[in-house]
């Protein structure tokens, strides 16, 4: 649905600052119906990247395709039309103070030349959809941040887009509003069959709503994929960002062996414990780690310290491996602090 091919965006040098390569050769593919995330530190080019998708920013080179249309080949007036099929939600809502909530939702319809009666009807439906049917005549100034973002989402959906772009849509909201806005985004995604590209610097947001994500650093994609796959990879900067690698608790006992285990729905820790305790007769102690819900599934990374008769440990781990469990032994002298690959 969205395809970026080797896209670069260079901002020319200004009087004091030199030229800035904001996006440096990014290729990205978002399937229809997917909820995709882009994460990265501040200044990594996330906002620029999302603005390239609807050509608010023209790429310096590379191509942008949305819904089969190569936007970068289109003249300006055709790009404007194509933008109607791409809704956008912003960090600071960007509602017009001169209009009511309903008036704001009608704005894109007005631009598309939809008649007054039809506009009213659609605005009412959309405000109902986002749970603000009662506040249709309220001014933005009378709404809370979360409510404003709901209106902004209704507005972005007004022209029945196939794609929704969100640039830090929850970054200006408190936790409760964030949760409800994310919930709404997931709901409209499935009810309307949208493809969503969401930019954020908050990992919790990605974990809550995204099916896939890419990690951007200095304008480049350094990692990415479906979360279910990324999280079960041995070494992945994105996985490390989502679920920080466990650190051994300094107070835990010494000796024995340290094991790093990745927990998923298919390979829960019970399987590992069964093998270690039940079959190998070892004592197991949790030295660190956590288990969370990510993309609707249960994922975790645990650090286990096993003690006892370790002779059959290697064989046991091989068996677990063969059973699809991601588990490996932390080299004893390699430092316990963090598993390899955690500090990339």
């Amino acid at each position: 649905m969205i395809e970026l091919t080797d896209v670069r965006k260079v901002f020319p040098a200004r009087r004091r600052a030199g030229e800035v390569v904001a996006v440096d050769g990014v290729s990205l593919r978002v399937q229809a119906g997917e909820f995709a995330g882009v994460v990265g530190p501040s200044g990594s080019g996330k906002s620029t990247l999302v603005r390239l998708v609807n050509l608010l920013e023209r790429p310096t080179s590379g191509s942008v395709t949305v819904d089969g249309q190569v936007l970068t080949d289109l003249p300006d007036d055709r790009v404007r039309e194509a933008r109607r099929a791409i809704g956008m939600v912003f960090q600071h809502f960007e509602l017009l103070d001169s209009r009511t909530a309903a008036g704001n939702v009608e704005h894109p319809l007005e631009l598309a030349g939809v008649g007054r009666a039809e506009r009213r009807r659609r605005a009412t439906d959309l405000l109902d959809l986002v749970g603000l049917g009662e506040r249709a005549e309220a001014r933005p100034a009378q709404l809370s941040g979360g409510q404003k973002q709901r209106v902004a989402i209704a507005r972005a959906l007004a022209a029945r887009p196939k794609v929704l772009l969100c640039d830090e849509a929850t970054s200006a909201l408190d936790q409760a509003s964030t949760a409800s806005v994310l919930e709404l985004l997931r709901r409209v995604r499935s009810e309307l069959g949208l493809t969503v590209l969401l930019i954020t610097h908050e990992m919790a947001v990605v974990k809550a709503v995204c099916d896939s994500a890419v990690l951007l650093e200095r304008g480049r994609v350094v990692d990415g994929g479906r979360l279910s796959e990324v999280l079960t990879r041995g070494h992945s900067p994105l996985a490390d960002a989502l679920l920080p690698a466990p650190v051994a608790d300094a107070g835990a006992g010494h000796g024995g062996a340290l094991l790093r285990v990745t927990v998923t729905d298919r390979t829960p820790e019970t399987v590992v414990l069964q093998t270690l305790i039940g079959e190998l007769g070892l004592a197991v102690e949790v030295a660190g780690g956590s288990v969370e819900t990510v993309a609707g599934g249960r994922y975790g990374r645990l650090l286990l310290r096993v003690t006892g008769d370790l002779d059959r440990l290697e064989a046991g781990l091989r068996a677990l491996h063969d059973g699809g469990v991601v588990v490996d032994r932390v080299p004893a002298h390699g430092g316990v602090a963090a598993g390899s690959g955690a500090t990339r």
Binding site: R80, E94, L96, D97, S98, L111, A112
Partner: protein
């Protein structure tokens, strides 16, 4: 003080002339100054339709108009006034220099107001597929309306003080009245009365303008 009966009708007439000059000039100023202000805003670097050369040329003309003392402008545009109105004397003739003097003034105020509109709102409209003129019509002007109204109020008040000057060189109105009946006949009471009257008009305008702007602000 027995001549007040003779003075009042004249005062009444002079007030009417001032309101006429200022009213028509204000209307023309808004009609021409707002588009000029929009042009200044959108052609600026980083604007909706950057045209650096045009922007600099417009900026120069506008600054020239504002730098020129009104009295000088009055004399300079006399040929233009004669061309348009047929004469350079009278209230109607005074409208031409008044308007030409106020347009650059308002245009800058409009430019400032439009620039204050958050760029994110413009982006949001562009992301919905708005054309540039849609952005001006549905975002910039409506969002800036409270501040535009304030700008127009300031301009109208300035027009009243300009009109007193225009009056002194044959435009009629309250300025002319104050000079002929008050200053030249050493009637301080008449001068004072005229000043009070001007003050009342200005106060009323400012009050109405503020109220209107506040009603539009919604925040």
């Amino acid at each position: 003080m027995s001549d007040w009966g003779r003075v009042y009708p004249q005062l009444f007439e002079a007030t009417g002339e001032t309101l006429y000059m200022v009213g028509v000039a204000a209307l023309l100023t808004v009609l021409l100054g707002v588009p000029l202000g929009v042009l200044l805003t959108v052609t600026a670097p980083g604007g909706l339709a950057p045209r650096p050369l045009l922007n600099r040329a417009l900026g120069l003309v506008v600054n020239l108009g504002r730098a020129l003392p009104f009295i000088i402008l009055l004399v300079l545009v006399a040929p233009v006034t004669r061309g348009i109105v047929g004469t350079t004397i009278g209230s109607t003739a005074a409208i031409v220099p008044l308007t030409l003097g106020a347009i650059p003034f308002l245009a800058r105020l409009v430019e400032t107001s439009l620039r204050e509109v958050a760029s994110g709102k413009v982006e949001a409209a562009l992301s919905m597929g708005a054309r540039r003129r849609d952005v001006v019509r549905t975002v910039l002007l409506p969002e800036a309306r409270p501040s535009l109204v304030a700008g127009v109020t300031v301009t109208v008040v300035a027009l009243i003080s300009y009109s007193a000057m225009a009056g002194a060189v044959g435009g009629g109105g309250l300025g002319d009245f104050a000079i002929r009946f008050g200053y030249q006949q050493f009637r301080t009471d008449i001068t004072l009365l005229t000043v009070v009257l001007l003050l009342v008009i200005v106060q009323l305008l400012q009050w109405a303008g503020d109220r209107w702007a506040r009603r539009l602000a919604h925040v």
